[in-house]
């Protein structure tokens, strides 16, 4: 038995929003792979829950007429990793969430839960940041669109108002078109592990594939929240595909990150990983885009 107090059941998104408004202290229960585990560990005893797991309106991945890809928050990691739109346009996101846990966890864990938890190690977070995703946050008062870049305040703290529910994750066509990404999760085990460090890079090359047209890079576990490195991005944009680019991406990343020592790894090792994973992910993304370093 889970030791929660009241389970409020929403049958529609509207009902969920009304419940959320009436019970601001209640936690939103999506796939439960964080909340139900914490309950079994005795950490959330006596909490109230709003169950939104059954809301199929919050599932699915679609393309809008303007080419934006909308991922609904209750999509499981398996849903994301196997969806044709993701495989075709943002395969790196599928590759990233495919590295979470094991099959059972990927079948239940949701992408919305992954980012609303606000932890820096969320495997979907760095790729969504690197693709400049925006979030659709809905309350009884209406819809608020927020750049995902502004969502994380600190560890476990996100800009989700007491009466809001995440109802959509949007990646604009401008972000994914002609863009190729690569994610590296550095962990101690091949499965069922949390990232020691994660790095997601995506590039859009010039037509002749000789220079970077647009470079984006984000990290997980390199700071209290998932972060993009604007310094690395600024130094890479317009740059030729050479060793200097790789050097500047690595050094630029080091300017923006602020990792800490934890039982998983020391700060020094994480800084080393930041530079090395930035380099490796950049090379891989450029190769996927049809470019070549020193080519």
């Amino acid at each position: 038995m889970y030791d929660f107090n009241t389970l409020y059941e929403a049958k529609t998104v509207k009902e969920a929003l009304i419940l959320r408004n009436e019970h601001p202290e209640a936690l939103i229960l999506a796939g439960g792979s964080d909340i139900l585990i914490k309950l079994h560990e005795g950490k959330l005893s006596g909490c109230d829950l709003i169950n939104i797991f059954g809301l199929d309106q919050l599932r699915g991945i679609t393309m809008e007429p303007d080419g934006s890809i909308i991922i609904r928050p209750l999509c499981s990691f398996t849903d994301v990793a196997t969806h044709p739109l993701i495989l075709e346009h943002i395969p790196v996101l599928g590759e990233a969430v495919n590295q979470i846990g094991g099959p059972q966890i990927r079948n239940i864990g949701t992408i919305g839960g992954n980012i609303c938890n606000g932890v820096t190690s969320a495997d979907s977070a760095s790729t969504l940041k690197a693709y400049d995703a925006s979030l659709e946050l809905t309350s009884v008062d209406g819809i608020r669109i927020l750049p995902y870049a502004e969502f994380n305040f600190g560890p476990g703290k996100v800009d989700l108002k007491q009466n809001e529910i995440l109802t959509g994750i949007r990646i604009s066509k401008e972000s994914w078109e002609h863009t190729y990404g690569h994610y590296i999760k550095y962990a101690m085990r091949k499965a069922m592990d949390i990232a020691t460090l994660g790095c997601s890079v995506n590039v859009r090359l010039s037509d002749d594939k000789n220079t970077i047209d647009r470079f984006r890079i984000a990290f997980g576990v390199a700071a209290p929240t998932p972060i993009r490195s604007v310094t690395a991005e600024a130094s890479a944009n317009g740059h030729a595909l050479d060793d200097e680019l790789l050097h500047m991406v690595g050094e630029g990343s080091l300017v923006d990150v602020m990792p800490r020592s934890s039982w998983r790894a020391s700060k020094e090792f994480r800084l080393h990983l930041v530079k090395e994973l930035a380099r490796r992910a950049t090379i891989a993304a450029i190769e996927k885009a049809g470019g070549k370093i020193n080519g």
Binding site: M1, Y2, D3, F4, T6, L7, L29, G32, S33, L36, I37, H40, E41, N51, F53, G54, T78, G101, G102, P103, Q104, I105, N107, I108, K190, A191, M192
Partner: protein
């Protein structure tokens, strides 16, 4: 505490349970249905000993609310047995390969392996390992388990080819 009626299909039979909303799926299937193949190992989604198939996909039943099973079809190891032919090929393969030692993890591994052996796409040993990465075994060292799954998968693919 609040109770709720849950209607679902368990091992091919339509069932109804009047269940405490705080129950996990593993609580419901073990306590109401006596399906003891489902093990409460870690209770936090790490070990996979409670794995069941829900609409054909593996889930940890320890971190799944019983009420979420409404309208779903659930399969456990008990549902693999055939009255006429006895235990299933994958169970026999685990026995033959020596993939069972203490046996506690075995039902979970067998359920996690069902999507592999039912797929027409041959899985490499690495892919098999990836598919059962959510299940822990502290006895066998995994090799025999991979052997059993690999062998059953090959047998099933051959059977499907010869019957089509």
């Amino acid at each position: 505490m609040a109770r709720k009626l849950v209607s679902c299909t368990v091992n091919g039979t339509k069932r109804h349970y009047h269940i405490d909303v705080r129950a996990s799926l593993s609580d419901m299937l073990r306590n109401e249905e006596g399906l003891d193949s489902i093990k409460h190992g870690c209770d936090v989604g790490e070990c996979g000993a409670c794995t069941v198939l829900i609409d054909g996909k593996p889930f940890n039943s320890c971190i799944y609310l019983a009420i979420w099973a409404e309208g779903k079809s659930i399969l456990t190891v008990e549902g693999l047995n055939d009255v006429k032919t006895g235990i299933s090929d994958i169970q026999q393969a685990f026995i033959d390969a020596g993939a069972v030692q203490c046996g506690f993890c075995t039902p979970g591994f067998i359920m996690a392996s069902i999507p592999i052996i039912e797929s027409d796409k041959p899985a490499s040993r690495d892919e098999i390992r990836r598919q059962v990465a959510g299940n822990l075994c502290r006895c066998t060292g995994y090799e025999k388990i991979v052997d059993a799954i690999e062998k059953t998968q090959k047998k099933r693919i051959a059977e499907r080819k010869s019957s089509s």
